[in-house]
């Protein structure tokens, strides 16, 4: 249905006053059959979005040809026919909804086609039904969640009767619940016969695809079924991608000979049945008895400091009500209490709307609690005459999508902004900024660039540096890795670990990615309905799988696998959150202890 042959695409970038030409696509090929589900996988900047925009004539190739249902996209008279055939859903939910109500937005496409009013109404109704939003048809888009907005966008494409839908990173800005919502709709559309092209850097989203196209540096690096693509982890890593956690766990188990299977294992239920088949030989008495002892290591980093030292930040019975005294009054936080010690990393989890962001804004004094207290180094920040602006530089807050909040002319100015506000001289501020930029790994050549000319990952690091340059002793990070590919994400977390170790900065990490929380936090707080429902080490909190899930949060994928194995009868001392620990535990429970 779609055939793209060796397409090249270049675009101009400005660096200072000089113009450069960058190649986004360098001879990419793509063949899509009617009804197929294709996933295009690749790191940030691999050209996958540029490729997608060629499929419905938002871009034209500099070289090569694109045919959609036999029509050449370069021929202007095919334009509307092609755009009707191939619809597109974009990444940012807010920037693609035009209507001020759900149904108005869905009607936008059919209205452009100048259809009869009756037809438009029918199409709007059936499209909204297909994405499950018919009851919200009169709602304003501002009142919808991210996942709902993306479903509105999908309905808008459905109403145009497109046979093929291109999804350009539709889940990059969504939380896990919304992500699942959107992916479910995509799967249903595929079953109903639509051709689907899904662009993403989340490897766990593509396992259901018929075929995966792996993009690297503007070219197709590999193409094949998920089984084929995931059987070559080295190839994937070279393209900046990683294996989904379940597949990685299966790889380790295979390597250690605990299970045998020809291809990669992509599905958790498949892995579970494999483990259970191989574990049948094990006699029950060989299983280690469950022990209630909590784990001794591995998070050594903060252990020595906790308990002895006075906490940096003490939160006591904090309550916060939004829009107090109006019809919209909502209790967002209720009786929140916890301590933050030097050098520790606290993971804050919970569904969207559980109050995580509000808590973060209370912690650095941007919002003032109704009752309760916050003590910084033993002193109440609500005391009369307390210098809140001083306090804010001690408790730094890096916002969600912080790259959109850079505002100075040059990178260096932006990072030096905070120190200058703190009263440092021009000279000192500059020095501090340079040190911080070196810490986050931004080269000197970028110091005088405009922040707008940097790549997404660089911008994120500059924004981080802007807060770090004020030398905070507590750093709150709100979704620092959202929308980043695995390589850039690892870099960001590398920086976070470094400042923890080198400066003893305490970290409060807000994230929807349970793997990140399990991997980096010493302590996890689960926030739900405005209160802390679970608190403890990641191992302890995530072991309580049912409880975590009952609050709408989730556990790391490997923990979920272990939990289900335990349901099947394998006995573990505790549920692990790391891939290697989980592999070791599963092997020992299977009676195949030893090699790790």
């Amino acid at each position: 249905m779609i055939r793209a042959q060796s397409i090249r695409h270049q675009y101009d970038v400005w660096k200072g006053d000089e113009k450069f030409s960058r190649t986004a696509l360098d001879g990419a090929d793509l063949d899509v059959a009617e009804g197929e589900f294709i996933a295009i996988l690749g790191a940030n900047g691999s050209g996958k979005s540029t490729l997608a925009k060629h499929l419905n004539v938002l871009l034209l190739p500099d070289d090569g040809v694109v045919h959609v249902s036999g029509m050449d996209t370069a021929d202007e008279k095919n334009l509307w026919e092609i755009r009707t055939t191939v619809g597109m859903v974009f990444q940012n939910p807010d920037n693609q909804i035009i209507g001020t109500s759900v149904e108005e937005d869905v009607a936008f496409g059919p209205e452009n086609k100048n259809l009869e009013s009756r037809d438009i109404q029918d199409k709007v109704t059936s499209s909204l039904k297909a994405v499950g939003l018919l009851s919200r048809r009169k709602s304003s888009p501002t009142k919808l969640s991210g996942g709902q907005k993306q479903r509105v966008a999908i309905a808008g494409v459905l109403a145009c009767d497109s046979r093929c839908i291109v999804f350009d990173e539709p889940t990059a800005m969504l939380d896990p619940a919304s992500r699942k919502e959107v992916l479910d709709v995509i799967r249903q559309l595929h079953q109903s016969g639509k051709t689907i092209i899904l662009i993403t850097h989340h490897t766990d989203e593509v396992v259901d695809a018929d075929r995966i196209i792996l993009m690297e540096k503007g070219r197709v690096a590999a193409s094949g079924t998920p089984q084929e693509i995931f059987s070559d982890p080295e190839r994937l890593r070279a393209a900046g991608m990683d294996l989904p956690p379940v597949a990685e766990l299966a790889e380790i188990l295979k390597k250690d000979g605990a299970i045998e299977h020809a291809g990669p294992v992509l599905d958790s239920s498949e892995l579970i049945s494999l483990v259970m088949q191989n574990a049948e030989t094990v006699k029950p008495e060989m299983c280690p008895a469950p022990s209630n002892q909590s784990h001794a290591e591995p998070k050594v980093l903060s252990e020595p400091s906790t308990g002895r030292e006075e906490p940096l930040l003490e939160v006591r019975d904090l309550c916060f009500t939004y829009a107090r005294g109006t019809v919209n009054e909502t209790k967002v936080l209720q009786n929140i209490s916890f301590d933050v010690h030097r050098g520790e990393c606290i993971g804050l989890i919970g569904t969207t709307g559980a109050g995580k962001t509000t808590l973060a804004r209370n912690l650095n004094g941007l919002l003032k609690a109704d009752s309760g207290d916050i003590l910084y180094k033993g002193e109440s920040i609500y005391r009369r005459g307390y210098r809140l602006s001083n306090f804010r530089k001690e408790v730094g807050l890096v916002f969600q999508r912080s790259e959109t909040q850079l505002f100075c002319k040059t990178v260096l100015d932006d990072v030096a902004f905070g120190p200058k506000k703190m009263g440092l001289s021009e000279e000192e501020a500059r020095k501090t900024a340079e040190e911080t930029l070196a810490l986050v790994g931004i080269d000197e050549e970028y110091y005088d660039s405009s922040p707008m000319d940097l790549s997404g990952g660089q911008k994120r690091r500059v924004a981080l540096a802007g807060v770090l340059s004020m030398g905070p002793s507590v750093l709150i990070l709100d979704e620092p890795a959202a929308g980043l590919d695995p390589v850039i994400k690892a870099e960001v977390f590398g920086i976070i670990n470094r400042i923890r170790e080198e400066r003893g900065t305490a970290i409060i990490l807000i994230s929807h990615e349970m793997e990140d929380i399990a991997g980096y936090a010493d302590k996890v707080l689960l926030l739900a309905e405005g209160g802390i429902k679970l608190a403890g080490s990641p191992g302890d909190v995530f072991s309580d799988v049912e409880k975590v899930r009952s609050y709408g949060a989730d556990v790391p994928a490997v923990t979920s696998v272990m939990y289900e194995l335990a349901e099947c009868g394998l006995r573990f001392g505790r549920l692990e959150t790391g891939v290697f620990e989980a592999a070791a535990a599963i092997e020992s429970a299977m009676g195949k202890e030893g090699r790790i």
Binding site: I97, L115, N364, T404
Partner: protein
């Protein structure tokens, strides 16, 4: 800024909600014209009663009636005081060198009532008409202007997009202010000049954000088959019903009465 009522649609079904937006726009226009025609302050009581009756018909709670006024309370007080004191005439009382006059009091009352009633009527329009209906109505009402080359349809799309993104931009501005406040910028405990300067610093990132948004949005619109100058149909085309006729008759009657009141 939270008191801005424009664009705050109040979603209930009522006779007023179901009226054609052109009817509502025209009625509000005629109401305002009539309001400025009358001279005798007793008329304002009549206009107030009409406005209250309309709110009743629209099933919009009375608190919303006041909400629209709250935003301009300072303006109203200022107008009243200024008018009362600055009009020469028969003195009522004087203090600190100012003199309130009888004529001033009457003028103050009329001007304040006019502004207040005008705002109340305009907010009722926005409570009962979605931005989409409003822009459709405007476009249809202005469609004769197409003949002299005005891009009426494009303008109506622009108005709709503006309505769509006002709340998004406000949220973005709030986030930016918070981000800057946590990097040491003061928005509260500082002089008005510093405050203005700091708010002005928000303009740049907001502007860049909107440029990015604009190009995204343009792409999304193109992808769904939009281009300028094409013929577009409507999901709910505007049609007059019998209620509209009644509403027009009432509005014209009001205007005629006001004119008659002025002549006598």
């Amino acid at each position: 800024m939270r008191d801005i009522t424009i664009g705050q649609y109040y979603p209930v079904d009522s006779i007023i909600h179901s009226l054609d937006p052109r009817t509502k726009l025209m009625s509000v226009f005629l109401y305002i014209v009539a309001l400025f025609l009358v001279k005798n302050p007793v008329w304002y009581a009549a206009f107030l009663i009409i406005a209250l009756a309309e709110f009743r018909c629209a099933r919009v709670p009375f608190s919303y009636f006041l909400k629209g006024l709250k935003a301009i309370i300072v303006l109203l007080i200022f107008t009243f005081v200024f008018r009362t004191l600055a009009t020469p005439g028969e003195p009522l009382l004087s203090f600190w060198g100012f003199e309130a006059t009888r004529e001033g009091l009457i003028k103050g009352i009329s001007l304040t009532s006019r502004i207040a009633l005008m705002i109340v009527e305009a907010s009722l329009l926005s409570y009962t008409t979605t931005p989409k209906e409003m822009s459709d109505g405007l476009a249809r009402a202005c469609s004769p202007l197409k003949r002299i080359g005005l891009p009426v349809d494009e303008m109506s799309i622009m108005i709709m997009i503006a309505f769509r993104f006002i709340p998004v931009m406000l949220e973005e501005a709030n986030d930016l202010m918070d981000a800057q406040a946590s990097r040491g910028v003061e928005f509260e405990n500082c002089s008005i000049f510093v405050k203005m300067k700091n708010i002005f610093a928000l303009v740049m990132p907001l502007f860049i954000g909107s440029i990015e948004r604009t190009s995204d949005l343009a792409m999304a619109m193109e992808a769904r088959g939009y281009s300028t100058g094409q013929a577009r149909s409507k999901m709910f085309p505007l049609e007059y019903s019998s209620h509209d006729k009644t509403a027009y008759i009432f509005s014209i009657l009001l205007l005629v009465l006001a004119i008659a009141g002025r002549i006598e």
